[in-house]
C-alpha cells in the first residue's frame, strides 16, 4: 500500500491519555473519538489535520493504557498511518487489529519533519520525505500479523475461524 500526506510531528513518549483523554471514553463512536484526537496533547489539535495526513512520532508512541479508543481516534481524525521511532506494545497490536497502519523506522523518524510531504510505501518498505528526498527504511510486517491483515483485521480473522469451526 502507498500513502501520501502531510506529516504532523508529535514528539516522544506520546501516551494514550494524550491521544484520547479519559473524559472522552464514554463512547465507542469513531467520528466522536476522532473529533477529540490528541486533545490531551493540545486543545483543538485535530483542526490542523486533513484526511490522508500522516502522523510522525518519536520513541514509544502510544504508551500507557490499553484503550483501543486511541487508534480509533487517530483513524477517526482521518489519519490512516502513523510512522514512529517505535510503538508501545499494546498500542502496536491494537493498531493492526483496528486496521491503522503502523510503521517503525527507528531514528529515521527525525528525517520526517512536521509539515513535510510524506510518502509511505509498505510494499517497498520505505518512507520518503518528498520535500527533502530523504528515504527511510521501515520494518517488514511479521508474517503472522500479515495473516491478520489479509483477513481484514482481527475481527475478520476470528470470524473466518469461527465460521470454519461451525462447518
Amino acid at each position: 500500500m502507498q500513502y501520501t500526506g502531510t506529516a504532523h510531528a508529535v514528539g516522544a513518549n506520546i501516551d494514550t491519555d494524550a491521544i484520547i483523554p479519559a473524559r472522552f471514553l464514554v463512547t465507542t463512536d469513531e467520528a466522536q473519538l476522532g473529533a477529540n484526537c490528541m486533545e490531551g496533547l493540545e486543545a483543538g489539535w485535530v483542526a490542523r489535520v486533513r484526511p490522508g495526513d500522516i502522523m510522525v512520532a518519536g520513541p514509544n508512541f502510544g504508551c500507557g493504557s490499553s484503550r483501543e479508543h486511541a487508534p480509533i481516534a487517530i483513524k477517526g481524525a482521518g489519519i490512516p498511518v502513523v510512522v514512529a521511532h517505535s510503538f508501545a506494545r499494546i498500542f502496536y497490536r491494537n493498531g493492526f487489529n483496528m486496521g491503522l497502519v503502523l510503521i517503525e523506522v527507528g531514528d529515521g523518524y527525525a528525517q520526517l519533519g512536521d509539515g513535510s510531504r510524506i510518502e509511505v510505501d509498505t510494499d517497498a518498505g520505505v518512507v520518503r520525505n518528498l520535500d527533502t528526498g530523504a528515504e527511510v527504511r521501515c520494518q517488514p510486517v511479521p508474517p503472522f500479523m500479515q495473516q491478520i491483515l489479509d483477513a481484514g483485521g482481527l475481527v475478520g480473522y476470528v470470524g473466518q475461524r469461527l465460521a470454519g469451526e461451525a462447518r
Partner: protein, 419 residues
C-alpha cells in the same frame, strides 16, 4: 532449553513447544478480563466476529470499576450494555455496585488468578497478576473479544530482563519505591516489548501485595509482563483466596536473559515520580516542600489493605493540612470492610480525609478527584502523564502510601520522617 519465567508459564498453556524470544506462541487463556470502558468495544468486536457464546462462562470477568458508580448518562449506558451482555452470555464473574472493586485488586482476592495462569485483560495494568506468578498482560478490546470467543490468543515470546533487588531498605520503603526506582533507571521504554523478571532477597521479603504493586507498573517501563516466582508466600496467598492445586514456579537455572539490572536498596529513601512521566524519579528528599492541593491513596497500584495500614500509621492523630484534599479509596469491598474493622477508616476520617467507594475514578481523571488548572496532586496511582488526572495544566506526582499521607499532612511533598 532452560526457560525464563515468561517461557515457563506460557509453556503451561501452550500445546506446542514455546520457542525463543521473538517466536510466536499460541496459548490457551485462563481468564479474560474487560472493564466498563473497554468491554463495550470488546462486545462490538465480539458481535462483528459472529461469535455467539463466550468460550467459558467462568473464565470471563467483566468488572465495571472505571466510571462507576456511574458519573454521567453516557457512562451509565456503557455499563448497561456490559451488564446486558454478561446476562445474555451467562458470564459468572460480572461485578458492579456493592460487589465491585478495582479489578486488579478484586480478581486476585477472589482467587480468579494465580500461579501459572495466562491472563489477558483489556486494561494495561493486567500485568499486576505477575505478582502471583501469572503471565498476565494488557491488550485492546478486539484482542480480548477474540480471546473471549476462542479461549486462546497469541503472543510474541518476550525477551526477559532479570531485575535483581537485594539489600534491606530504610523505613517507609516498599514495593512501590522499588518499582519507581527501576523505572527511573531503565526509562519508560526500557522494557519495551520485554518481560521484567524480578528476584533477589528484597523481593523475597515482600508480601504478595507488594509484589503485585511492582508487577502493576511493569507497563510503565513498556514491559509486556512483570513476573515473580510463585514461592511459599504466593501459594499461601492463593490458598487463602480459595484456590487449589497451585504449584511453586521458578525460572530454570541458566535461562537466557537479555540483560540483568541490579539494585541494592540498602538505605534507599522513599521514591517520587515527578511530572509528566513515571521515569522522572527522585528520592523524596529532593522534592520535599513542593506544595500539593490533593493527595490520593488508592488504585490498583496501592489501594490494598497493607497500603491503607501504612497510610493510617502516618495519619493517626494527625490532620490533613488546611486547603488540601485527601481522598482515600479502598480498592475492594473486602478491603473497605477490613479497614473499617481495624479502625483505619476512622483514622482517615479523623484526619479530614474523604473516604470513598472502590473505584478507579481519580487515577485516570474519570471522576472523584479531578484537578483544575494550576493544581498539583500526589497520588499512589501509576501514571503521571500530562493531564492524566484533569486539566492539561495540572501536575501529578507518584509515591507510595506513606509519602502520600505525610504530604497531605504537610500540604507539600514530605517523607513521614519529616513529621
Amino acid at each position: 532449553m532452560p526457560q525464563t519465567l515468561a517461557q515457563k508459564i506460557l509453556q503451561n498453556q501452550c500445546a506446542e513447544a514455546v520457542g525463543e524470544a521473538g517466536s510466536i506462541a499460541r496459548c490457551r487463556v485462563s481468564l479474560v478480563l474487560a472493564n466498563d470502558i473497554t468491554a463495550p468495544l470488546a462486545i462490538k468486536s465480539f458481535e462483528a466476529m459472529g461469535a455467539r457464546a463466550v468460550f467459558h462462562k467462568e473464565r470471563v470477568a467483566l468488572v465495571c470499576d472505571h466510571f462507576t458508580p456511574n458519573k454521567d448518562i453516557d457512562s451509565a449506558e456503557q455499563v448497561k450494555a456490559v451488564r446486558e451482555f454478561a446476562r445474555r452470555m451467562g458470564v459468572v464473574h460480572y461485578y458492579e455496585g456493592g460487589d465491585v472493586g478495582v479489578e486488579h485488586a478484586l480478581l486476585p482476592e477472589l482467587g480468579l488468578v494465580g500461579p501459572g495462569d495466562v491472563v489477558v485483560g483489556a486494561d494495561s495494568h493486567t500485568c499486576t497478576y505477575g505478582g502471583l506468578g501469572a503471565f498476565a498482560t494488557g491488550m485492546g478490546s478486539t484482542d480480548i473479544a477474540a480471546a473471549m470467543a476462542l479461549g486462546e490468543t497469541w503472543f510474541k515470546v518476550p525477551p526477559t530482563i532479570r531485575v535483581q533487588i537485594d539489600g534491606t531498605p530504610g523505613a517507609y520503603v516498599g514495593g512501590k519505591d522499588y518499582i519507581l526506582r527501576i523505572i527511573g533507571e531503565i526509562g519508560v521504554a526500557g522494557a519495551l516489548y520485554k518481560a521484567l523478571e524480578f528476584g533477589g532477597a528484597a523481593v523475597e521479603a515482600l508480601t504478595v501485595e507488594g509484589r503485585m504493586t511492582m508487577a502493576n507498573m511493569a507497563i510503565e517501563a513498556g514491559g509486556k509482563v512483570g513476573l515473580f516466582e510463585a514461592d511459599a508466600r504466593t501459594l499461601a496467598y492463593a490458598a487463602a483466596a480459595g484456590r487449589t492445586g497451585d504449584a511453586a514456579l521458578a525460572p530454570d537455572p541458566g535461562a537466557a536473559y537479555e540483560r540483568t539490572v541490579r539494585l541494592d536498596v540498602t538505605g534507599m529513601e522513599p521514591q517520587v515520580a515527578c511530572p509528566h512521566l513515571p521515569e522522572n524519579v527522585r528520592p523524596v528528599s529532593e522534592v520535599r516542600g513542593v506544595a500539593v492541593h490533593q493527595s490520593v491513596i488508592g488504585s490498583c497500584t496501592n489501594g490494598r489493605i497493607e497500603d491503607l495500614r501504612e497510610a493510617a500509621a502516618v495519619l493517626r492523630g494527625r490532620r490533613v493540612a488546611r486547603g488540601v484534599r485527601l481522598i482515600v479509596l479502598p480498592a475492594t469491598p473486602r478491603i473497605w470492610r477490613q479497614a473499617l474493622a481495624e479502625g483505619l477508616l476512622e483514622i482517615f476520617m479523623d484526619a479530614g480525609a474523604v473516604v470513598g467507594p472502590p473505584t478507579c475514578g481519580p487515577c485516570l481523571g474519570g471522576h472523584m478527584g479531578i484537578l483544575a488548572s494550576g493544581e498539583r496532586t500526589i497520588a499512589t496511582t501509576n501514571r503521571n502523564f500530562k493531564g492524566r488526572m484533569g486539566s492539561l495544566e495540572s501536575e501529578v506526582y507518584l509515591s507510595g502510601p506513606a509519602v502520600a499521607a505525610a504530604s497531605a499532612v504537610v500540604g507539600a511533598i514530605a517523607s513521614p520522617a519529616d513529621l
